[in-house]
């Protein structure tokens, strides 16, 4: 339980990329430090060896000079004096007569060797017990009378320096490695925790909690930016899902009524029709209901298609003035028959790039809305005016209007004002208008004309055309 968790966390840290990366860097660093170490070690050693050999050779040559001037006895005297001074660190001397008898010196006798030698002096009987014999580096020289001169220095100076270098590098390397691992673990853990929070959120969402969001730390780093982006995406998806849910429940709800009526008509036809005329009446009513249902479906489909922007391929430049005017003329007789006055005030020369059939449907829907939802005697005006920045199309009436607080809702699918619930219509007309306007980059707004309502579509001047 609680012990399994840290162990698992550790494995995860070891496996995590943010840990492996520092580790790789640590190894690389160690390798370059190793190369540096080797260079320093060997150069320093060689330099020191050269230095020691030079000191010993100089000393030996000076002594040779003395030997030539003052003979063996003079040399012995000089060596004895120098042994007392020890000016440049401990220097050991040995002067051996040709018969291998030690004339003077603080080293035991040995067979003569010329040049640089490393050696450990053979212990003297007396000193062996008390003093540890150090390793020496010496310079041997056979003098002109056959006697042997050896000048030596403690070789430990070299090994001391070497071990100092090794120690320094060992400490520095160890510390680096430690820091790299600890830092890697810390970084890995930090990243893991943040990635964990993303995983947790996505799991929560998969389990159905669409409102779950990834916590933002507020550091404004790349991960925060990523998280902010993901959260925004989740918000948009949730919004779309809510919209979809709303639409499907609306559909289910709004189609129940006409389907119920359809069923009722069919029942009537089966159970109550006594004459062919009864039967025809019932089936006609059923067909009418079915047609209304189909119309609702095709309107929904159309809205979906338009909202998906799938219809842009049918876009072409068209004379919007002529289109609006011809729609007005199409509705003129129908408006007269329903005792409405339809005023058509269209300015010439408004062109626009769009889908002619969709635009026709958009204007028609607005005109029909005005005609159907206002009482007899109402004046409906269909206008198209040029504006500095483009154009404005307006469908207005002097009817009862709609309450201000419902202005925002009338463009929703299936939204119907209470007073129009009893009249025919799917409640999709204005939703389609809004979708088509959106596809063409037109903005729709409602204005209260007191009395009456005005729907205004405004469009910017077509940027692709140089309008005259």
């Amino acid at each position: 339980m609680s012990s399994a968790r840290p162990a698992r966390t550790l494995t995860r840290i070891l496996r995590s990329a943010s840990f492996r990366l520092p580790l790789i860097y640590a190894v690389l660093f160690m390798m370059s430090a190793g190369a540096l170490f080797a260079t320093v070690y060997y150069t320093a050693t060689a330099a020191m060896q050269n230095d020691m050999a030079a000191v010993l050779r100089t000393e030996a040559l000076q002594l040779t000079e003395i030997h030539r001037r003052d003979g063996l006895a003079g040399l012995a005297q000089q060596i004895a004096r120098r042994m007392n001074f020890r000016t440049r660190g401990p220097i050991f001397y040995l002067l051996q007569a040709p018969n291998r008898r030690v004339v003077v010196g603080n080293l035991p006798g040995m067979p003569p060797v010329n040049g640089v030698i490393d050696f450990v002096p053979q212990p003297d009987a007396a000193e062996a017990e008390t003093e540890q014999r150090p390793k020496l580096t010496g310079y041997g020289l056979t003098l002109s009378d056959g006697s042997f001169l050896l000048v030596a220095q403690d070789a430990n100076r070299l090994s001391d320096m070497q071990s100092a270098i090794v120690r320094a590098f060992a400490w520095a390397g160890g510390l680096t490695l430690l820091l790299a691992i600890a830092g890697g673990a810390w970084l890995g853990n930090t990243f893991l925790r943040r990635i964990d929070s993303i995983t947790r959120t996505s799991n929560a969402i998969m389990e159905g909690d669409l409102s779950a969001r990834i916590p933002v730390r507020g550091t404004h780093d790349e991960i925060d930016q990523l998280v902010t982006g993901l959260n925004a995406m989740l918000g948009r998806i949730q919004q779309l899902m809510d919209g979809l849910r709303q639409v499907s429940s609306d559909i289910a709800h709004d189609l129940r009524t006409p389907l119920g009526r359809l069923r009722q008509h069919l029942e009537d036809a089966r159970d109550r029709a006594k004459t062919t005329a009864d039967y025809d009446q019932a089936t006609d009513a059923a067909i009418e209901e079915a047609d209304a249902l189909l119309e609702t479906f095709s309107a929904l489909l159309r809205i979906a298609q338009v909202e998906a922007g799938a219809q842009k391929s049918a876009f072409a430049e068209l004379d919007f003035s002529a289109l609006v005017r011809s729609i007005g003329e199409a509705y003129q007789p129908a408006a007269e028959d329903s005792r409405h006055k339809l005023l058509i005030q269209v300015e010439d020369g408004v062109t626009l790039t769009g889908d002619r059939q969709l635009l026709a449907q958009m204007i028609s829907n607005l005109v029909e809305n005005a005609l159907h939802h206002t009482p007899e005697g109402t004046t409906v005006s269909l206008g198209l005016r040029k504006r500095d920045a483009g154009f404005e199309a307006e469908v207005a009436d002097d009817g009862p209007g709609i309450p201000d607080d419902e202005h925002g809702k009338v463009f929703d699918r299936f939204y119907r004002l209470d007073r129009s619930r009893s009249t025919a219509g799917s409640g999709l007309g204005l939703a389609l208008v809004k979708a088509i306007a959106g596809l063409h980059g037109l903005t729709v707004r409602l204005e209260d004309r007191k009395p009456g309502l005005s729907v205004i579509l405004s469009g910017a001047k077509d940027p692709s055309l140089r309008s005259g």
Binding site: R302, Q305, A310, Q311, P333, Q357, A360, S364, E368
Partner: protein
């Protein structure tokens, strides 16, 4: 009339074939695109092809394209559930002559098949005549029994379309599409109100009416007698 119906939904196919046969047509039926193409390009001559858009083996668009490529000039009516503007355009570009969105009223199908089969109508004519009604396409005037009739632009277009299809049933949807280019179903009785005004202009005050309403189907203009 010999008609080839290419439709994979059996119920729809039976319904259409039965209806067309009841109206005196001879109907052959293929339930997939490949058989449809085989029949359309075969020995047998058809006057109209009715083709569903979504078909097994070969879709309707490809079928019609292939048939047109191999020289078949038979008029094609597309049937489809895909009613988007793009779908309509694609259908017409593939070589279709008319387009009917499912579901449809049977009378609509019948009228459109009739209109297709009699194409090409008198396109180059400068005047159209039915009975004592005459339309001068150049001067854009209409007279009946020598008396000048004063028609509005849209009434003129409606009458022109009816005259070009004189004797055939023209449906409300056909008028919406051809006269106003409306490919949706308005809630308002646009067509009815225009027809009633047109009728009062061309038939009022004359003994024999020329413009008739065919119940449940549409309108027809025909010479009396």
């Amino acid at each position: 009339m010999k008609i080839l119906l290419v439709e994979d939904d059996k119920q729809t196919a039976d319904y259409i074939a039965k209806g067309l046969r009841e109206h005196g047509h001879v109907v052959d039926h293929a339930d997939n695109g490949r058989d449809g193409l085989y029949l359309a390009t075969g020995e047998k001559y058809y006057e109209v092809l009715i083709v569903d858009r979504m078909l097994p083996a070969m879709d309707g668009l490809s079928l019609v394209k292939a048939a047109r490529t191999s020289g078949v000039k038979t008029p094609v009516l597309f049937l489809t559930t895909m009613g988007g503007v793009d779908d309509r355009v694609a259908g017409l570009e593939a070589g279709g002559d008319d387009y009917l969105v499912k579901p449809f009223a049977f009378a609509e199908l019948l009228a459109r098949v009739g209109a297709l089969a009699r194409r090409p109508p008198i396109m180059a004519a400068t005047s159209l005549t039915v009975g004592d009604l005459e339309m001068d396409l150049l001067a854009r005037t209409v007279t009946r029994a020598g008396k000048r009739l004063d028609l509005l632009a849209q009434e003129f277009k409606i009458l022109e379309y009816l005259l070009r299809h004189a004797g055939e049933v023209v449906t409300r949807t056909m008028l919406l599409e051809k006269v106003w280019d409306f490919h949706f179903d308005p809630k308002t009785n646009i067509v009815e109100t225009h027809i009633s005004r047109l009728r009062s202009k061309i038939d009022k005050g004359f003994d024999k009416p020329l413009l008739h309403t065919v119940r449940g189907a549409g309108y027809v203009i025909r010479a009396p007698g």
